[in-house]
């Protein structure tokens, strides 16, 4: 009963790929620990993403799709894979690269050079929207004004809006972002740790913002970060990997570290966390504050002014603390007791450092 007919032992170092059984295994697949060859790795990696796209009906033929491109590994691999799959499986998508220029010297200018090369390499038209154009301020100028504290408040709020405005300018139907399985697993944990049941109920959705101006989707929802790195490495993809100079991030790093430790013991754990996130029994759709529009700029907002306008007002009046924390602003005269939720969603909580969307 106990004689399992295992694979015959092969000579050390010349193990065959356990998928094709022909080529020599070149890597241990992070998600499954299978030993496989490079070609089979590309194939399972791309095919899994294709399946996720098909099963979740992420795209319709003829749609215009912007890929949020930061120049980092996730969005670079996303741009590469989506343009491949679009060709191979005839999705019929019109693809664009969309980047936000926060105006961070020595960081964003360099990473944008990467995106500009991607534009040529993948043949995808690129649109760059800048903080300077949209808000009149670069991040460098904001930091000069407010110091290093609180600066990610600005970059989070501004970037989210900037991406929507860029998408509107491109007249796209959807934006795809490079959030990967590790990011989503981490967000599930973070939402538990800080008691945010409303976000917990939504953070595993593969499509978000369907009520907003432009829906966003995450084709990498089940794709492991390690595999993205591996893919970029083997394919020699051109990406930018320096961390943002304005945002070292201890807490984030800690939760991420935990996920990496888990992955080391049990790679499956990342998918299990996402599964848990999808399965949580959250009864009444925990309501987010009602969405209206900003009286000033017309962007969606649950308050009189959107978060970006409040922050901007502060900057322009030389009161940069306005809108941060508990200080008083134009929204405070509103009587409805809705607790202000901040523009930056936890799902966008990638380390400010990576500046991925």
């Amino acid at each position: 009963m106990e004689k399992g007919e295992e694979e015959k032992p092969t000579k050390a170092g010349s193990r065959l790929c356990c998928i094709c059984n022909q080529r020599r295994a070149a890597l241990k697949r992070p998600k499954t620990l299978q030993q496989i060859c490079r070609e089979c790795f590309y194939e399972v990696f791309e095919e899994e993403i294709h399946q996720v796209i098909v099963e979740n009906q992420l795209f319709k033929p003829g749609e215009r799709l912007a890929i949020g491109a930061s120049g980092g590994k996730d969005s670079t691999v996303l741009a590469y894979v989506l343009s491949e799959l679009n060709r191979r499986h005839n999705y019929g998508l019109d693809l664009f690269l969309l980047s936000v220029d926060e105006g961070i010297t020595g960081y964003r200018d360099d990473s944008l050079e990467t995106v500009k090369r991607n534009e040529i390499q993948y043949g995808l038209p690129l649109k760059i929207v800048s903080y300077k154009d949209l808000y009149g301020w670069t991040m460098d100028e904001i930091v000069k004004m407010i110091g290093l504290k609180n600066n990610c408040t600005f970059c989070g709020v501004f970037r989210r809006q900037a991406l929507d405005r860029g998408a509107a300018l491109l007249k796209v139907d959807k934006v795809a972002t490079g959030h990967n399985a590790d990011d989503i697993a981490e967000t599930v944990l973070l939402n538990i740790l800080r008691g945010d049941i409303a976000r917990l109920s939504r953070c595993t959705s593969i499509v978000t913002g369907e009520d907003g101006p432009i829906p966003r989707c995450k084709p990498f929802k089940y794709t492991y970060e390690k595999e993205i790195v591996m893919y970029a490495y083997f394919k020699r993809l051109d990406y930018f990997s320096t961390e943002c100079i304005y945002s070292p991030n201890a807490y984030r790093g800690f939760a991420r570290e935990f996920i990496k430790d888990l992955e080391r013991i049990r790679p499956q754990a990342i998918l299990d966390i996402i599964q848990s996130g999808e399965d949580f029994r959250i009864s009444t759709f925990t309501k987010m504050p009602e969405q209206g529009t900003c009286e000033r700029c017309g962007y969606i907002s649950s308050q009189k002014w959107c978060k970006a306008c409040v922050l901007l007002e502060g900057l322009n009046r030389g009161l940069p603390k306005l809108g941060i924390g508990r200080s008083r602003g134009p929204n405070n005269d509103r009587k409805n007791g809705t607790k202000e939720t901040n523009g930056a969603k936890s799902i966008e909580s990638k380390q400010c450092g990576t500046l991925d969307f």
Partner: protein, 451 residues
């Protein structure tokens, strides 16, 4: 944008954090002037991390108050009950034992004082699961621990409490020592082995409670342990069944389980043991390893970084919808005092809320999620009993406890204690039509049912 709270105060994670810290500071600063207990405002606080706000008396009465509120609001213990306290020797179950004892002691006094003697005094027993046969510890260490436990229990004031020292292999009929060892050896995943042992421990408790006529089992699970469980269940893919495990009452078992210390922190329980000289016996459990060990150190560090973290975790998970069995079941309503029923109403435990017919994993007894049920209902009918046992298990147990190699499944199945096998029979054979009903919306064709 999750940020380092020291870096970013407004839109990120920092928010809620700051608010909580500020509340704490207000307490402290308001307090520093007089340096007095915040409750009675006459005595000095105990000092130390947990006791900085209360004097000894107020600390104790506050902790006991949390216990009593949990007991009364959820009808955990009523006068006609006979409750079994699961005692591991550690501080949590030590306090559970102490508080249950105090409650019993008080109701005895009331009983003696009352004229008509209408309300009987509930009974209390204590169970210790003896894992000598599978423990890496030398057996004389465990023997000594058991002697200490006997002393602890016999030193409690009357009424006398029976102590059941139950060898874990008693889950088998006949001598189960070797089968138990082989069963644990058959699980290759470290975490899976620890978890299986946990389930077997529960099985022993159920067995002794049922055989000795108890109708409730009291566990000493506290906020800190529950916080760990929340993270553990999440990383093991058990998000669906998680709310079943963390409520005050869990009646899915033959003998319902109650958690009266659900709102107490382990630091508070340690403090009470220390202050009141409650003897504990610690060497019993080895350190956990694998995922269980990783998660408990993760939560411990989070708690050190922010003393309200464990509460926040449990509060978040507490917002998940519980199951219909997370209350003392209807049939017992006659003995639930009116006041308690009113309170239950306030706590939003409506009788019909979240009623659904669940199927349960035969190993861990978790309600199965949709994809597990979908898999179960798609099975062919001609199968060996070991295959259908495997199919009835939740995906988490399938992953970390069942053998990976299908050819070992028969062997594994042959080692299982009878009650687990019986659970599978109960859930998988009889329930197919019930299953279909629950997953109807996921089935693509209903042609099989056309008749």
């Amino acid at each position: 944008m999750a940020c380092n709270p020291s870096n970013c105060q407004s839109n990120c994670y920092g928010n809620e954090e700051k608010a909580e810290v500020v509340v704490g500071e207000e307490y402290v600063s308001a307090n520093q002037n007089q340096n007095l207990c915040i409750k009675c405002k006459t005595k000095e606080p105990i000092g130390g991390d947990e006791g900085r706000m209360f004097c000894i008396e107020c600390f104790r009465s506050n902790l006991y108050g949390k216990f009593r509120l949990a007991v009364t609001s959820h009808a955990m213990i009523t006068p006609t009950d006979n409750v079994l306290v699961a005692f591991s020797g550690g501080p949590s179950s030590r306090v559970a034992l102490q508080f249950v004892h105090e409650l019993q002691h008080k109701s005895l006094k009331n009983f003696d004082a009352s004229r008509d003697r209408s309300l009987p005094v509930f009974g209390v027993g204590v169970a210790f699961i003896d894992e000598t046969t599978i423990s890496p510890l030398p057996s004389h260490d465990i023997d000594r621990a058991i002697q200490d436990i006997r002393l602890i229990v016999s030193n409690l004031a009357p009424p006398i409490k029976q102590l059941h020292v139950v060898p874990i292999e008693n889950i088998y009929s006949g001598d189960g020592t070797n089968r138990l060892k082989n069963l644990l050896d058959a699980v290759s995943d470290t975490t899976g082995k620890e978890d299986l042992l946990l389930h077997l421990r529960m099985l022993s408790l159920q067995k002794v409670a049922s055989e000795s006529g108890y109708n409730k089992i009291v566990l000493g699970l506290c906020t800190s342990r529950i916080a760990c469980h929340v993270i553990l269940a999440t990383v093991k893919g058990q998000g669906y069944s998680l709310p079943a495990d963390i409520q005050y009452v869990d009646s899915r078992w033959e003998i319902p389980i109650v958690l009266p210390l659900r709102d107490c922190l382990v630091q508070e329980l340690n403090m009470l043991c220390h202050l009141d000289g409650l003897k504990t016996v610690e060497l019993l459990k080895g350190p956990c390893s694998g995922i269980n060990g990783l998660v408990s150190s993760f939560v411990r560090i989070l708690q050190e970084e922010n003393p309200s973290r464990e509460c926040t975790i449990v509060r978040t998970a507490g917002k998940l919808t519980p199951f219909h069995f997370n209350r003392i079941l209807e049939s017992d309503d006659s003995v639930i005092p009116l006041a308690t029923r009113r309170r239950q109403k306030r706590y939003n435990l409506k009788p019909n809320e979240s009623i659904s017919s669940e199927s349960f994993c035969p190993i861990c007894n978790s309600p199965l999620n949709k994809s597990d049920m979908l898999r179960l209902s798609n099975l062919g009918s001609c199968q060996t009993s070991s295959d259908s046992f495997g199919a009835a298990c939740c995906s988490s147990c399938r992953f970390q406890i069942l053998p990976k190699d299908p050819s070992s499944m028969d062997h594994f199945y042959s080692l299982l204690p009878q009650p687990l096998v019986a659970r599978a029979k109960h859930s998988s054979y009889d329930n197919l039509s019930l299953l279909r009903e629950q997953i109807q919306d996921c089935l693509l064709s209903d042609s099989e049912d056309d008749s």
